[in-house]
Subunit: 350 residues, 3 copies
């Protein structure tokens, strides 16, 4: 695995590749990205908000990426662009490309003879590739990965070590799957029968679009009868559970520890904060943001931000207040009765 020395780039070369305007020395050479506080003279940083203007003054960074509003807030050589944070991400990708794996199949790998493995693919040690698997050009399958029968994986996809993909699942191009990801395990399909659980075979697949990244130890279950579907450009963080038959729309993103129950349908361009939980058989429209720690119990039909988190407090304060949570109905009833007594008093008064 070659991670290669980061190259050095002149600001002019960066702008030639990624657009934007240079103010100051276009020949300045930078070798890496760095945060405002710790950037050195041979590094480039960025500010995405006016509130970091103060820190920018003190930064030792050689160059900075700024938005139009910060065009003149520094004397440093700078690149002006409309979205400094996204621009910065692209500059960082120039300096820090995905590692390059040597093409070829490690002698310890077990690859079924029916699998399609392009010469450009890199298959690591202890990899198992089942019957009928189809790999795209330049895929990297790191050591210890398991691809079940008939898995399809699109070009330029990168599997970190010890990813498991069950049989028949399909993953698009440029996927990044981190270690411990399990795609296509059986959904939790059970029928009750006289106090015992009868397993319902899970015969759907997982179908994942292009440009999807899935974090470490995240699980996406196969569909019960139809497919679990993850759209293009979806980004899932670590330790997420996506249950059977869920649909996640294009370009939605979910932070760590999220759970999505069976048959939920999440729209496009949604976000779910850490540990958000979405119950099953409900529908969430496009452009919905679920706050961290929020439990969604019914469909959401209108774009916007939704929250259910209980505010924390010191434990003694919590004890005092939480006791009333079990008596809110009594409290409301008591208030109704007080009002009646007030009405009675008012009536007598008049």
């Amino acid at each position: 695995m070659k991670r290669g020395t980061p190259n050095a780039y002149r600001l002019g070369e960066i702008v030639a590749r990624l657009g934007g305007d240079i103010i100051g020395d276009a020949d300045l050479v930078v070798t890496q990205v760095a945060p405002l506080e710790h950037a050195r003279a041979d590094q480039v940083t960025f500010i995405a908000s006016v509130k970091y203007r103060g820190k920018l003054q003190q930064s030792a960074a050689g160059a900075v990426i700024v938005g139009p509003s910060e065009r003149d807030s520094t004397d440093k050589p700078r690149i002006v662009c409309t979205n400094p944070y996204a621009y910065f991400a692209r500059v960082s990708a120039l300096f820090n490309p995905m590692p390059i794996a040597e093409p070829g199949i490690h002698p310890s790998a077990v690859v079924d003879s029916s699998a399609i493995v392009p010469a450009s693919a890199s298959i690591g040690a202890f990899v198992f590739i089942g019957e009928g698997v189809e790999l795209g050009e330049n895929v990297v399958i790191s050591p210890g990965c398991h691809l079940g029968d008939n898995v399809v994986l699109g070009e330029d996809s990168f599997l970190y070590p010890q990813v498991v993909i069950y049989h028949d699942c399909m993953i698009g191009s440029r996927a990044i799957l981190h270690s411990g990801v399990v795609i296509g395990a059986d959904g939790f399909g059970l029928a009750q029968d006289e106090g015992r659980w009868v397993k319902i075979p899970q015969i759907g697949r997982v179908v994942i679009g292009d440009d999807v990244e899935i974090g470490a130890n995240t699980t996406v279950d196969r569909g019960a009868m139809e497919d679990t579907v993850i759209g293009d450009g979806v980004k899932l963080d670590n330790q997420i559970q996506v249950a059977h038959n869920v649909h996640i729309g294009d370009h939605s993103a979910m932070a760590g520890c999220v759970g999505i129950a069976g048959s939920a349908r999440i729209g496009k361009h949604c976000t779910v904060g850490g540990a958000g939980m979405i119950l099953g058989h409900l529908e969430i429209v496009d452009n919905v943001n679920i706050s961290s720690g929020t439990l969604i119990t019914k469909s959401i039909k209108k774009a916007g931000t939704y929250t259910s988190a209980m505010p924390f407090s010191s434990h003694p304060d919590w004890l005092k207040n939480a006791a009333h949570l079990r008596h809110l109905d009594d409290m409301a009833e008591k208030m109704r009765l007080l009002e009646q007594r007030i009405i009675e008093l008012e009536r007598k008064k008049s």
Copy 2:
């Protein structure tokens, strides 16, 4: 791994195997199960509730499994039985049996010479099997699994790729363990000593009954001094954490992302919804249902359903309401004072 072409069955053959009554053409051949909306003429579907009667009218399914109440709600060939959903599960298992793995030991597997491995067992590539392991007939150990010393695994059990079972753990017959499952890791046993943590060796085991299924990336810790015990017929979904010394009673089921803290004792026939959390050292009787997102903080002595979820709302509404959660005690006190003033007014009145 052979998943085999689904067989075709005549309705009459299905009923001969699984019971129930046929109304209509017993010679109709079906080849797969499918949901109401998408079933074709060569497929069998089911309805478990009268509310789907309308969809049944429109379904193209060749046959349908119905309960007694829906006996006459369609003209299609149908199987009438008492529990259509469980019946459907069994029909699906006819069409979609567990995959059949070739018996034998893959040449890359490392199997200790003291291990008992029946000729009917299938041991995949890169499997590690320690000293004194005992495998039952027909077990399938998929590639990359690890069975520590003295593990016992009952007949017909199926381990998907990359399951880890630590030393001395015992698992019954017909278990299904999905990828990333870790059985028998150390429980979180620590003693405080002058601000430092001293590890308490975890010397118990995990003992799991028959007919247990455990979902991807779920972890079950070994007992501290005695065993962690999971009863017969228990079903655990993905990403669940079962801590040391927990007991889970027979035929209980838990959805994804559940956490059970140390030494909790869960009864039989319980269910826990997604992301439910159960604290340690408490007892839950049989037939308790914990709702999704609910935190159980003390023992439950009576069967029934229990809930603690905070309802969600739009973020602006939440902001308005949540602020009061930290002041419920003030609110209750204020109400008490208002009532006193009303009493005073009423006293003066009379």
Copy 3:
């Protein structure tokens, strides 16, 4: 892997090694630790609190570890010490040492020629060790582990099967990492650009101190530009997610299913109960205890215990009370109006 028969120790030998005073027969031989209820005559137990004094009377244990206050509450041979629970942990470690793995490299392991692997190290089957890896003396790398390029792992560290450590991460001495742990996967770093997510390369590392234990399937992400840092003596349970750039102070401990969002800074000697969630970009001082199921949404500047859990109740009671949670603001407003009417009545009265 040798777990070895537990040795027998005379009480006198134990005290010679670990300190404390013996009352009674110093030559009594014990062979294992056990809980009060089930200890036998050749086993040693402990009581950490006066409330177990009754159980101690009935215990068949041969010997007991007690604190000064329980010095005379039994006739059994006993060891008196200041912290019986921590003492018990150390006695248990005498009887149950970490397993001893044979030094050497399993022939199936793939170890880069540039890696530093001491002769005392044990490298299991199917292990992958990348370029420039440095292992300390006596490390145990169990089967199926993956150490990416330039990983550094301190002496006496023990990796259970199927741990993944990404490139460049550093782990101190005496670490214990359980199966399914993933150290150094990419953090969730994304920039929005016209409705699409642009990946921000994660170029920091994970740097972990000495004496750290990490539970099964826990994930610790590498830093975005700088490092994710875990201090000395930190203990993490199973299924925890630690996001990029998090700092966890020395000797803090976190129970199962906890999530720590990006750039959170947790102090020393903190604890987080099961399923606690800590949002990103906030700071928690030393000696803070977060209760189970609690969501921390802003910095905590004062040591103490903090809680946000919603109390559970039977589902019908919950339905009754939860409905009001969405109307607390109305309720407060109503109370204000009632008070005004009371004031009016009082005014008229006087």
